[in-house]
Symmetry: C2
Subunit: 403 residues, 2 copies
């Protein structure tokens, strides 16, 4: 029930991902929802008829595709069409934040069938938090009349760095007890299906991408909340890097931070100068008591004039790091999400100001910089998408359906 | 003869790159050099026998594969095997620097068959420089007894930002006359084959990757010379971003630059504080006359004590930007190349110092930081690789061989 790092990412360029034409190639075509006949599938793939028949039968037996009526006939008995059946299996997806957890059950198209949320502090440790996921997951599954045996997999987002190849959190600063804990083994021992773990920002980036921006090839998602992190999406896939640590933007140094000590031990990390708690500290120093990101949001919404320049400055600091990221990655869109985006437009204005000032013309000529559109649900959708894209990947469906 | 941006990069995740099993799938398998029989190819692909025969015949007719003797027989006439024929076509590849140009002809495995180089200033403008490439390219091709009609394509690296979708330089700071010039159209009007253009750093990254580090999935290549730029390789492919501008590291701001004005109009860009000319300026201010990156290299090799702290500081500045890049991209290896790497170990030592100080433990636990291994030839190999990987891509061989 552990993860396979190599298979989770793109294959090396030297290896054809489709050396053999398996059931996964057929399923990938059918996942667009359009019903097709055997003849259409044969001509689309160049697959031998006997091979095709065997693989269509295996997909039908698995329930992943189903007969979808008859096609128009040119004489004789009209041929049967087949279509993807997103209700064939279910996915359990959890977005675990620092203090709050969201949980959903989706179908194989990522549509949420049932969901719940609760205040669950991540620092209660892995067994308590994961037991909450497992117990409430079972309850949600029962609520919609399904069974855990129908699970394709479980997707989990954690609020800290995750080694994606093993599904373990690595040195997570706000997650006591989680360092190195084998999340896939623990969850996999109690629920069927594969278990996939990623950090919450990657999950949210994937959810935002799939639900809003799937026409954009290169997306950079930045979460500004208690911490600051980013998720990099290229061609619908999370860019994770060598250890799955890509996107860890919160500890990049800003130039005029004033020597603020970060919890990581360095000074002037972006997170230490521009996160919700960092702004709260500066507000408190200005005589207005605040502690958390949500305190800042509430004060901003109540209209607190001295907050405006602080939000603008935080936006500029974030913009400085994003300008470097834009030069490096040349994304088509930068999406800014997280609780702090609810504090009004000054943060985003500061971000835009510095990106357009500091990034090169070629990198910004078509660049959009927008607030996240998907609300709190993005993490759950993204966690489900992670499971679906992996398990229904063209190379892996054969193992799933037994061809 | 223009470029196709979409096809040059990875297909969007929603589209199967191999909806049909064409000749390209067969060629991709055979490019490992191992001879295979028709039966082996059929069982590896699941391709219908009639389709397979037609595609093998087309590949044989194109010369891209050739008969490679007989396999062991289990009785009866032993079956013929087929193997990739890298000598079937040739590639012309040029690495055009600010003042120097290198040109090579390779086979389809990227092996250099003939090469030449000369002092060619890029600021002579596109027609003069490209005429040099075309004329000397024709001469090199004749020298090895081949003809331009055998060209699979021409690959060019330019020392400035290139819009990869059109093959044009965009606002290149040191290339008067090149801005918006249609390089593929100009070269394509005089030489057969497709023309591909990228910036010189991407080309060198690709060459270094293919010749030295193809076992590493995520490579960051930094060139430190007259300018500073980086090439990002993931899974054997150059990451180019939305406009092909990814990797433009030279204009990221460093924190303690001292307010040095950069030619781009901003202050304290990495290139303005840590490039070869920037170090030369500081050396001149210290009373030792120097102007170019090569001057600095010569002085370093001659043993100039006051240069050591300057190189170390430049390394630290580069390390600051690289530390941010490592947090963002989590590469498996950082390769430092360019002329300045010849100035000794102090530059690399400064880079290593700051990356290990500033990057997160998860991103650096297995990170290697090394000097480039391939010398000046990396650019030519990389430019050839760009052509070969595109034109022999699985989706594009059908068009090439007419199936």
């Amino acid at each position: 029930m552990t993860q396979d790092a190599t298979a989770l990412s793109r294959p090396p360029s030297g290896q054809a991902p489709t050396g053999t034409l398996g059931a996964g190639t057929l399923l990938r075509m059918l996942r667009d929802g359009k019903p097709r006949t055997r003849s259409e599938l044969a001509s689309m793939t160049g697959m031998a008829r006997s091979t095709l028949t065997q693989r269509v039968d295996a997909l039908l037996a698995s329930g992943l595709i189903q007969p979808a009526g008859e096609a128009a006939s040119s004489g004789g008995r009209p041929p049967t069409t087949f279509a993807f059946a997103p209700s064939a299996r279910i996915v359990l997806a959890a977005d675990l934040g620092a203090t709050h957890a969201r949980l959903g059950v989706t179908d194989l198209s990522g549509r949420i069938l049932a969901e719940t949320s609760a205040d669950v502090a991540i620092d209660l440790g892995p067994t308590t938090v994961l037991d909450w996921v497992i117990d409430n997951g079972r309850a949600l599954i029962a609520e919609i009349g399904r069974t855990p045996e129908e699970l394709l997999g479980v997707g989990l987002g954690l609020p800290g760095p995750v080694e994606h190849s093993t599904g373990r959190a690595i040195n997570p600063p706000i997650m006591p007890g989680w360092d190195g804990f084998d999340v896939p083994a623990y969850v996999g021992a109690q629920l069927p299906g594969s278990v996939f773990v990623d950090n919450d920002v990657n999950i949210m980036a994937l959810g935002e991408y799939f639900s809003q921006w799937s026409d954009v090839r290169h997306l950079l998602y930045v979460k500004v909340a208690t911490g600051i992190g980013c998720g990099i999406i290229t061609d619908g896939t999370v860019y994770r890097g060598a250890q799955g640590a890509a996107g860890d933007m919160g500890h990049i140094q800003v130039s005029d931070g004033g020597g603020i000590l970060c919890r990581c031990g360095n000074t002037d990390c972006l997170e230490a100068v521009a996160s919700g708690p960092a702004i709260a500290t500066k507000l408190t120093q200005a005589g207005i008591a605040a502690d958390t990101a949500l305190d800042v949001v509430h004060l901003a919404r109540a209209g607190t004039p001295s907050l405006t320049p602080l939000l603008r400055d935080a936006g500029r600091d974030i913009g400085e790091v994003l300008a470097a990221s834009v030069n490096l990655l040349n994304p088509g869109i930068v999406v800014v999400g997280g609780a702090m985006i609810l504090a009004g437009d000054h943060l985003l204005a500061g971000i835009r100001e510095v990106i357009y000032q500091r990034s090169l013309p070629l990198a910004t000529q078509n660049l959009r910089i927008v607030a996240a559109r998907t609300g709190e649900g993005a993490g759950v959708i993204g966690a489900a998408t992670m499971v679906i894209e992996y398990r229904l990947g063209p190379d892996r469906v054969d193992a799933l359906v037994g061809t």
